[in-house]
């Protein structure tokens, strides 16, 4: 949530752009049963990217209520874990209806996760150091799942194993780079483990900016 109008429109444009990247081809095509790693990228854009930028673009008010951080954190973790239970993951690939449900639920989970940090009115947000703890715990949950996916010998989402229409990308990857479904799942896990954690780390740094910024503001007044 920002004071300046142009910046807010910038954030909203960013949210729209990320949403477009996530839901339009080529990512949406690849994410739909061809590449697990592409699905993971889409998953994270919807869960962590779009809601954060959308909330940053909200007009500022100090009155908007917060939600319980436990609820927000649980929503964030659920968004990560629930859709990677093999049953649900496969269902989302096989049925367009469930995939839509997945998309909407990820946006919702993400909004709940970010709400205590950027959705709520500026006076009602989590205190900066509590925010750091909140985000760190989010990073731990995300890392654990990333590790599980990276090293799991079991196929988490078997629907990706034999795509009905592999398109041009997957055969090219297989023939030129020796790409395998196992490598695909590893990359999916690593996306969740490493770049996703950098999102949390970036947000933690933003908490420090807020923390030290508020001290500077007090010193000047």
């Amino acid at each position: 949530m920002s004071e300046s109008r142009p910046l807010r429109f910038g954030y909203l444009a960013g949210a729209a752009a990320l949403l477009a990247v996530a839901l339009l081809p080529p990512l949406s095509t690849l994410a739909h049963g061809i590449l697990f790693s592409a699905h993971m990228l889409q998953h994270l854009l919807l869960l962590l990217g779009v809601p954060a930028f959308a909330l940053l673009g909200f007009p500022p008010t100090s009155a908007r209520r917060s939600i319980s951080p436990v609820l927000g954190w649980a929503a964030g973790a659920a968004g990560m874990w629930v859709w990677h239970v093999p049953l649900f993951c496969n269902a989302a690939v096989r049925s367009a209806g469930i995939q839509s449900l997945q998309t909407v639920s990820l946006l919702g989970f993400g909004a709940l996760f970010w709400w205590p940090l950027i959705g709520a009115g500026s006076e009602r947000r989590l205190a900066p150091l509590a925010g750091v703890t909140y985000l760190f715990a989010g990073c731990v949950s995300c890392t654990l799942q990333g590790i599980l996916l990276t090293f799991s010998p079991v196929e988490i989402c078997s629907a990706f194993l034999n795509p009905a229409d592999p398109g041009p990308v997957l055969p090219w990857l297989s023939s030129h780079w020796g790409f395998t479904p196992a490598a695909d799942q590893q990359i999916g896990g690593l996306i969740m483990w490493v770049p996703a954690c950098l999102v949390y780390l970036g947000a933690i740094m933003a908490q420090f900016v807020r923390w030290y910024g508020s001290a500077g503001a007090r010193a000047l007044s």
Partner: protein, 727 residues
């Protein structure tokens, strides 16, 4: 400090004396580890040398590494933290003085056990990271590794105790007006280091526990023949080992951040950037351990991701280097010994950082890992960085600790000998590594330049040895005849300089007002104060109960330990490893009954707490008795389950399922037993009427721990009994 006999030093709970004991112990082991290094260098001075046998060489490099990391660097840094942190935040002592003494005494015990291995049939000879399966009983059949594991566990427990204390002290005992945004950077960095310690050491502890079970009870965690995996040792070890690099570096960063501003006569440039980048380094360090394992074949995807994330660590570290340099820029520099060491630190640590980036490149890593290039790299970080930072700290704070300054002329001799000796020893090792000389091999063939470079390195090592002698003489002489320091010999700005040198046992007669980051500057320049950062209205300080903060911190560390054990359970049970499985061996229905007893005990304890807070002593005694009974029911139930499994022939080494099951539930049961003892103590106190005056912090702390133990069981029950059979 002048009062009291030598015996008082053994019994002390004063943070200053404990800090000095830590530093002196580290100094003793520094001499031992240094002599070991000299022996290694003598062996390597020429090709085909026979000064040491291969076995002695292996033992000495193992002991040198273990000693320098666990018995020198960590204790020295924790010792300085112990001495300085309470003084810098204007506190009377650490939050838990007796825990502090316990943490210290773990150190000599651990060191003694480690070195006793020499007398008990041979020291460990497997390198400081003790890779399995080399460290397994089949390949290291003497007791060296056993002593190593016990020593590491003790030292790890001591470090966690120290870290819990430092965190709690920082959070609860700061002087009025000192917010966390304005603590001295050394305090901030010790705080972040302590958080890293409580998060990272449990990974090492879990790893070492599994190794002990392998060696002593013939489990198969890391032995391929029983279905185990030596790779898990490496994962757990480096999940500790990479953060450990920063556990050793961050306090030295903190020392540099205190020394440079004072000797440049300027406030630190970009305090906020130095502080926040420390957090970024700490967090990144927890997630990049796999870059220590590029050579084991994790697969190209993993290599790529971890190469990229390892490059990133250069960013926050680079931020710091620029901040320190910018602090020096345009300052009125006083080039005294502390600053000399600090400037050398900047240069050498940057060299070590740059060679570290070369290791983040996977093909370079494959080529250079386990060569002398790596030895050079890690010594530039640990010696050129951490130890130079420590030396800067020694010269800077020696006057505070002893009341006398170290001799400046001898200090310069010490500095130049160290810089020359260090760079001679280790710079040439870059070339040896690039030429392919492997480390940890007792000798080498007479290839072009190898003999010459190794001879240079050995000469450098002896110059380093000489520099240490200069330091020791300087300390010895300055203690007796050094210039009297006065309260604030460097004209510094943080609170430790506001009291006498050495400080009295109670530290401060009165803590000066704290409103900015440089309270003593404000005191000396009332017309030209720093920006005020403290809250405008200074209310009477609210004394937070340290007991709860300390318990919560400890619980975080315990949670990490159980997390590692549960990860091991999943790892070993997710695919077919042969042997029994949870579904055939366990009776989830019966376990659910004693699970309910344990969960109910959390409720009864909560009711007891509520009764106590309302002053109903009788009800409290009743509820605590019920809680104790329910806890005993749980333990008896678990004991019954163990007996049942034993009758079925399921013992700790019969399969990986059995090994992980007994390890996880056994450690949980141990925690329940500890919780029961704590509850028993509470019950005795309650009957004696100790809680009538409302001192109930201890009750709330024990209760928090008991709830934690229950929460762990919920995770264990779900994972092992409910999910496990379907893995």
């Amino acid at each position: 400090m002048s009062t009291g006999s030598r015996r008082a030093w053994l019994m002390t709970v004063d943070h200053k004396r404990i800090g000095i004991l830590y530093i002196l112990t580290a100094l003793v082991f520094f001499l031992v580890g240094g002599l070991e290094a000299l022996a290694l260098r003598i062996q390597l001075v020429k090709p085909g040398n026979h000064f040491l046998s291969p076995q002695a060489f292996n033992e000495l490099f193992t002991m040198h590494g273990t000693t320098m990391i666990f018995l020198v660097a960590m204790p020295a840094l924790i010792g300085f933290g112990n001495y300085l942190l309470p003084l810098m935040i204007g506190a009377r002592d650490m939050a838990f003085p007796r825990l502090n003494a316990l943490g210290y005494w773990m150190l000599p015990c651990g060191g003694f056990l480690l070195y006793f291995s020499f007398l008990a049939g041979g020291a460990p000879s497997v390198g400081w990271f003790s890779y399995a399966p080399l460290s397994e009983a089949a390949y290291s059949s003497n007791t060296g590794v056993d002593y190593w594991t016990i020593a590491i566990l003790l030292l790890g427990a001591g470090s966690v105790a120290g870290a819990v204390n430092l965190i709690t002290t920082t959070l609860t005992l700061r002087a009025p007006g000192m917010t966390l945004r304005q603590v001295p950077l050394f305090v901030w960095m010790m705080f972040i280091t302590s958080i890293l310690i409580i998060l990272a050491i449990p990974a090492l502890n879990a790893d070492v526990v599994l190794l002990m079970l392998d060696r002593l009870l013939r489990a198969h965690f890391f032995v391929a023949t029983g279905g185990g995996s030596a790779l898990l040792w490496q994962h757990f070890f480096w999940a500790f080992g990479h953060p450990e690099v920063y556990i050793l570096a961050l306090p030295a960063f903190g020392m540099i951040s205190e020394v440079i501003p004072v000797f440049a006569r300027k406030p630190i440039f970009g305090y906020e950037f130095v502080a926040a980048s420390t957090v970024a380094i700490a967090l990144l360090s927890l997630g990049v351990w796999a870059h220590h394992m590029f050579a084991v074949g994790l697969g190209r995807p993993s290599d790529l991701f971890f190469a990229a994330s390892s490059f990133l660590i250069a960013v926050p570290t680079g931020v710091k280097i620029f901040n320190w340099t910018a602090t020096l820029w345009g300052g009125s520099i006083r080039l005294r010994t502390p600053l000399l060491f600090a400037v050398a630190f900047l240069i050498q640590f940057t060299v070590g950082g740059l060679s570290g980036i070369t290791f983040a490149m996977v093909p370079m890593d494959w080529q250079l890992t386990d060569t002398y290039y790596l030895v050079a790299h890690m010594h530039y970080v640990m010696f050129g960085g951490t130890l130079f930072g420590l030396f800067a700290g020694v010269y800077y704070w020696f006057p505070k600790m002893t009341g006398r300054k170290l001799n400046e002329g001898a200090g310069r001799w010490h500095f130049w000998l160290t810089v020359i000796g260090f760079n001679l020893t280790f710079f040439v090792q870059h070339f040896l590594g690039l030429m392919g000389m492997p480390r940890r091999v007792y000798t080498y063939p007479d290839l072009p330049y190898w003999g010459a470079f190794n001879a240079i390195s050995t000469v450098g090592a002896f110059i380093l040895g000489l520099s240490v002698v200069v330091l020791l003489v300087n300390i010895w002489v300055s203690l007796r005849r050094g210039e009297i320091a006065g309260d604030n010999p460097w004209d510094a700005w943080t609170l430790e300089w506001a009291t006498t040198s050495p400080p009295p046992e109670h530290n401060f007669r009165a803590v000066p007002p704290v409103r900015s980051r440089r309270p003593l500057w404000d005191l000396a320049h009332p017309q030209n104060c720093d920006p005020v950062l403290s809250p405008a209205v200074t209310v009477a300080p609210r004394i937070k109960p340290p007991a709860l903060t300390g318990t919560a911190t400890f619980i975080v560390s315990e949670a990490m330990f159980f997390l590692m054990l549960l990860i091991a359970f999943v790892f070993y049970n997710v695919s077919s490893h042969g042997g029994q499985y949870a579904a055939t061996a366990l009776n989830a229905g019966r376990s659910a009954i004693f699970t309910i007893a344990l969960l109910a005990s959390s409720g009864t304890l909560w009711l007891g707490e509520r009764a106590l807070d309302r002053g109903r002593q009788g009800a409290f005694r009743l509820w605590i008795a019920v809680t104790l009974a329910l806890g005993v029911v749980f333990l008896v139930g678990q004991g019954g389950e163990y007996l049942d499994l034993l009758h079925k022939g399921v013992v700790i080494n019969s399969s990986l399922f059995a090994s992980t099951f007994f390890t996880v539930t056994g450690f949980h049961g141990l925690h329940v037993a500890v919780g029961l003892i704590a509850l028993l103590v509470l019950a005795i106190q309650a009957w004696a009427g100790d809680f009538r005056k409302g001192r109930t912090d201890g009750v709330h702390a024990v209760s928090l721990y008991w709830h934690f133990v229950d929460a762990v069981w919920i995770a264990v029950f779900i994972l092992i009994y409910l999910i496990g059979p379907h893995l």
